[in-house]
């Protein structure tokens, strides 16, 4: 972990995708065929649940409950989707999810970047102590906080508000840790030059440090967003009003109400899955390389 500072340095990669190592398979034909088969089988197994869900969502409830292995047991219909959208909740929950995850990401990234820079370069007293506590906090399972946090929200009268969902989620010690390691790896000379020119500390941060940190900030943003988008337990506990629910919570509350209406269940699952999958398709390369950027991947 300690040697990653160099691996983390921003660097301009050639724009072509890393082709992988052809050496790994040698020059023979057989290993390629075997590896290709294994990949295809694995990918098929991983895609099968999706495809089965898609097929189910495009049938009527009656056809779905017919026995048989064929994914399509009856006529093609969009009725499951129509019924879901008529009820309107899925769209509302998706909007709540975007609002909550978006604000959590914005606030988390802003305060974590500032703090990480302060920890990396700061000159104030208690810096090391506070950083040590932050690193130790990485170990605390968020679920451990649920009971006392709920008490706290009762006390502040915040139960059933957006604030209650958002505020506790903006504390991300792991992200501060990752960002600090990145800042530690940036040479100080650039900042000192700006300081000698009389730039204020805020200006040094904004004009010198942040531009160098775009890849790591993007990586952190993506992971914070995915985490907040998918967070279940905390919003589930602190929200009872169906109008404030996020997608994971809302779908869980109707899951039992759906009973055995599998076409509708699958339609709502796929509608709920759509936004992030689209985001992933748009930013695929960035997401993959961001893992390397955070220094978690290499060593």
């Amino acid at each position: 972990m300690a040697t990653t500072a160099t691996a983390v340095r921003p660097r301009r990669r050639p724009s072509r995708e890393p082709a992988g190592s052809p050496l790994l398979l040698g020059h023979g034909r057989l290993p390629r065929v075997l590896a290709g088969t294994a990949l295809t089988v694995l990918a098929a197994v991983w895609l099968l649940p999706f495809l089965w869900a898609v097929a189910t969502s495009l049938q009527s409830e009656q056809d779905v409950s017919k026995p048989g292995l064929s994914p399509f047991k009856g006529a093609f219909t969009l009725s499951a989707y129509e019924q879901i959208l008529e009820r309107g909740n899925v769209v509302l929950w998706a909007a709540n999810s975007f609002l909550v995850a978006g604000l959590v990401t914005l606030i988390t990234v802003a305060i974590s970047t500032l703090a990480a820079y302060g920890f990396s370069r700061g000159t104030f007293r208690g810096r090391r102590g506070l950083m040590a506590v932050t690193v130790a906090a990485v170990m605390v399972p968020p679920q451990l906080l649920v009971v006392p946090l709920f008490e706290q929200m009762l006390m502040f009268n915040l139960v059933d508000t957006y604030a209650a969902m958002i505020l506790p989620q903006v504390v991300a010690p792991m992200m501060v840790f990752i960002l600090k390691r990145f800042f530690d790896g940036i040479p100080r000379e650039l900042e000192d030059a700006a300081r000698l020119d009389g730039a204020s500390e805020v200006r040094v941060f904004r004009s010198v440090v942040l531009p160098l940190s775009r890849p790591i900030v993007a990586a952190v943003s993506i992971f914070v967003f995915i985490g907040a988008w998918n967070n279940f337990l905390w919003p589930f506990i602190v929200i009872n009003d169906p109008g404030l629910m996020t997608l994971p919570v809302g779908l869980a509350t109707v899951k039992d109400a759906f009973g055995i209406q599998y076409a509708q269940s699958m339609a709502s699952a796929l509608l709920a899955a759509l936004p992030l999958v689209v985001v992933f398709l748009l930013f695929q390369r960035r997401i993959v390389s961001s893992v390397a950027t955070t220094g978690l991947g290499g060593s």
């Binding site: 990949l39 694995l42 089965w52 292995l69 703090a115 370069r121 700061g122 104030f124």
Partner: protein
């Protein structure tokens, strides 16, 4: 940290230290950090020594009663056992399958983005979506799982209703859902490996298997240590998918410790006791983390 001597810079003003960002940079993080993390941790410790309850506003100090009760509570032990079983059933395939996927994708076959997409996209799904899809696959009469088994001539399985099977079903869902993240960690590691050793071994006439075992896998050791440690800690914290999929059933056979905390605290309203149980769990997490650190340090 060396304070680089810079002969060209003007002499520092008397009394002023080297310039750098001040406490103000850290404050916007430190305030919510103390408020929403440090305080709840401390408050949780305090609550675990009281009979605090959602129903009653009056609380009193009960000393170690909650902890004594927790250690004698068979539900604590069985849910801890379930948590450990889940961790074993999920972590091993989550590391091995991710490694195999990354090696296969890295081997340079065409269609990179299709493979990456197939393996990573489940990780993007909210937990409820994942469990909705798998509830349907595990449906006893017409779900894909049993349709496949009966077509192949096997007996149908009670995926979520058979006590001996349910935890395996939960683990299978979890592997499908989250393997993509470990896969990406391995893929990133593979892509940053220097190719020189591999090339040298190839020149010396080492075959593909030989190079995989003697060059590539040893180079991935640090990544494997990291992935395993993160995975075990993540698996110990399982709650969401089990709560939605089985509510801990059948007959408590899949209930993890964190669901027990939830049940006691929010269904049984006993927040004080729930806090005590969650700190027993936290102790387990710390013991496991320290054990892992020791184990992997010694091996190095």
């Amino acid at each position: 940290m060396p304070t680089g001597e810079r002969p060209l810079s003007p002499p520092p003003r008397r009394g002023s230290r080297r310039r750098g960002p001040g406490l103000l940079f850290v404050l916007p993080f430190a305030v919510p950090f103390v408020l929403f993390l440090v305080w709840p941790v401390v408050q949780g410790v305090w609550m675990s020594f009281t009979d605090s309850s959602l129903a009653l506003r009056d609380t009193s100090f009960v000393g170690f009663d909650n902890y004594a009760e927790a250690f004698g509570d068979p539900d604590v032990w069985s849910s801890l056992g379930n948590t450990v079983l889940f961790t074993a059933l999920s972590s091993i395939p989550l590391v091995l399958v991710a490694l195999v996927m990354a090696l296969l994708v890295h081997s340079g076959l065409a269609g990179q983005w299709v493979w990456r997409l197939s393996f990573f996209v489940p990780y993007l799904l909210p937990v409820t979506v994942v469990t909705l899809i798998w509830t349907w696959l595990y449906q006893p009469d017409i779900g894909l799982g049993n349709e496949l088994l009966t077509t192949l001539g096997f007996e149908p399985v009670g995926w979520l209703s058979d006590e001996a099977v349910a935890m395996w079903s939960v683990a299978a869902l979890t592997v499908w859902w989250t393997v993509g993240f470990n896969f990406l960690l391995y893929l990133a590691a593979l892509q940053s490996l220097p190719t020189t050793y591999d090339e040298a071994a190839a020149l010396d006439g080492a075959g593909a298997w030989r190079r995989l075992w003697s060059v590539t896998l040893p180079q991935l050791r640090r990544t494997t240590v990291l992935v395993s440690m993160l995975q075990i800690l993540a698996s110990l914290k399982v709650f969401d998918q089990i709560y939605i999929l089985t509510k801990g059933g059948p007959n408590g056979s899949t209930r993890p410790i964190l669901e027990y905390v939830y049940d006691v605290g929010f269904t049984g309203y006993r927040l004080g006791y729930a806090s005590a149980v969650s700190y027993v769990f936290f102790a387990l997490v710390i013991v496991v983390s320290l054990a892992q650190l020791r184990l992997f340090r010694q091996e190095d």
